[in-house]
Amino acid sequence: MFDVNQIRKDFPMLNGKKMQGHPLIYLDNGATTLKPQVVIESVCDYLTNYSGNAHRGDYDLSHEVDEHYEQSREIVRQFINAKRKEEIVFTSGSTDSLNMIAYGYGLTHLKANDEILITVAEHASNTLPWFDVARLTGATVHYINLDETGRLTLENVQKAVTEKTKIIAVAEVTNVLGYQAPMKDICQFAHERGIVVVVDGAQSVPHQVTDVQDTDIDFLAFSGHKMCGPTGIGVMYGKYDLLKDMKPTRLGGGANSRYNSCGVVTLKDPPYRFEAGTPHIEGAIGLATAMQYLMKIGMNDIHEYEQELRQYCIQKMLQLDNVQVYNPHSMGAIAFNIKGVFSQDAASLFNSYGIAIRAGQHCAKILDEFLKVSTTLRASFYFYNTKEEIDAFIEVCKKGDDFLDAFFK
């Protein structure tokens, strides 16, 4: 049974943290999430009780670290239901993962005139690496049209795909508009044409059940810090055969098995070839603890509860005349503006009531060409938010016009 009050007790930041004198209402979960006590403890446990290096050394401490580290990989495998744990590569975050895919797979598999498909709703981290890889290979980046609400549909994918399409790189849930892409259908269509599907899961993996075998996606990128885990840790999932056929973007200690002074290098098998250097050990361990915590609550329950919160919030917002909502029917973040108030001024007003929401382009800087507004506000929930918090948020929405209040309180 989902009991949000019980859950909130697990998060130190929800028990005493204040902002501008008000208890923190954290609605910027799209940017990063708060950490439950168990995650904090598992990070501290490594630093305090077994802080050795992994994959190294020939003594029990190092072996102990190794076991924790590899056990973390196995927990990630479970969380996304990958076939093998060797398909899980630890990275420093979604951005790192997406760059590894673009430069490690895209750069070595694309040639002049090949096409990469993305959308204008992609995060910068799923846009800029593809621009660059296109520049280097002579391939081109094309856009799949969004439908009039901002959604990615199978039909539009079908329209955008040509003989030359080699890669489709899209977010499963986008970070501003929050629509869910029909990944399974897209994969089926793509695979019939030999197209590789890269999924930016930064905003989906934390909020719903992920099953990479069911959707059959080829690559998946996501970040630990957006799902109750530490910062500086993320995951690149890839089907094993694709990983084997891929070049690491970082070379060095731990990634090679043999080399000599003539430059002949033998790379290790995945995932190790992609994890050169000392990894973020307590990050991997902390992320695994976060996943165990989430699985214990249940990803289905989390998803359902978040949808309930979103509905509740949207209904109240739609009743306000001074608020414009851009994506009432999606399932992720709520993108909106207070009419006549510059987003940054509005965010400041929310801040003065202890409410954390974000203003700006949200790193999806080309979305303005679709939404036709240059910046928006974004409120994004996680399973520890409550209807009472939303009520407080709505009250501040109503005060929108007095945005300078923030400055004179």
């Binding site: 400041s348 801040n351 700006g360 240059s374 910046t375 300078l404 400055f407």
Partner: protein
């Protein structure tokens, strides 16, 4: 001088300059020095132009996309320094920065700019309240080179 203790008045100053920014709009004139100021951590993005006549600041222009705090602080700045010598302008700038960073300052000299005296309470707005001013500083420096 404005009453420092009347939030209503200070607020009206900001709103007035936000809704009716003075000296806004760029000119197509090579005798102006120009700089693009875009905050790397927020959305504000202004182009600033200053025309120097020897030691004197003859004109200040700006345009772009910015929040109320950024727009009105830049508007007020443009009025304050226009027609002043660089030295005089520098004194105003120093006092303004002192106010923003909670050091001693002379409220008299800042005139309407005292509307931003509370900025430190919302520290994340400092970048907005100083963007235009920092543009001026950069151009004054450039004019010396």
């Amino acid at each position: 001088m404005h009453s420092l203790n009347d939030p209503q008045l200070l607020r009206e100053i900001i709103m007035d300059h936000y809704e009716h920014p003075r000296n806004r709009g760029l000119v197509d004139d090579d005798s102006y020095l120009k700089i693009n100021m875009n905050s790397q951590t927020c959305i504000d993005n202004l182009d600033i132009q200053v025309k120097f006549d020897g030691d004197k600041i003859e004109d200040v222009r700006y345009d772009g996309e910015a929040c109320a705090i950024c727009t009105s602080s830049t508007s007020i700045m443009s009025e304050l320094v226009k027609g002043k010598t660089k030295q005089e302008a520098q004194k105003i700038i120093d006092n303004y920065m002192n106010m923003i960073y909670e050091k001693d300052y002379d409220p008299e000299i800042l005139e309407e700019a005292i509307a931003f005296q509370n900025t430190y309470k919302q520290a994340n707005r400092i970048k907005c309240a100083t963007l235009g001013w920092n543009g001026l500083v950069a151009l004054m420096k450039e004019s010396e080179e």
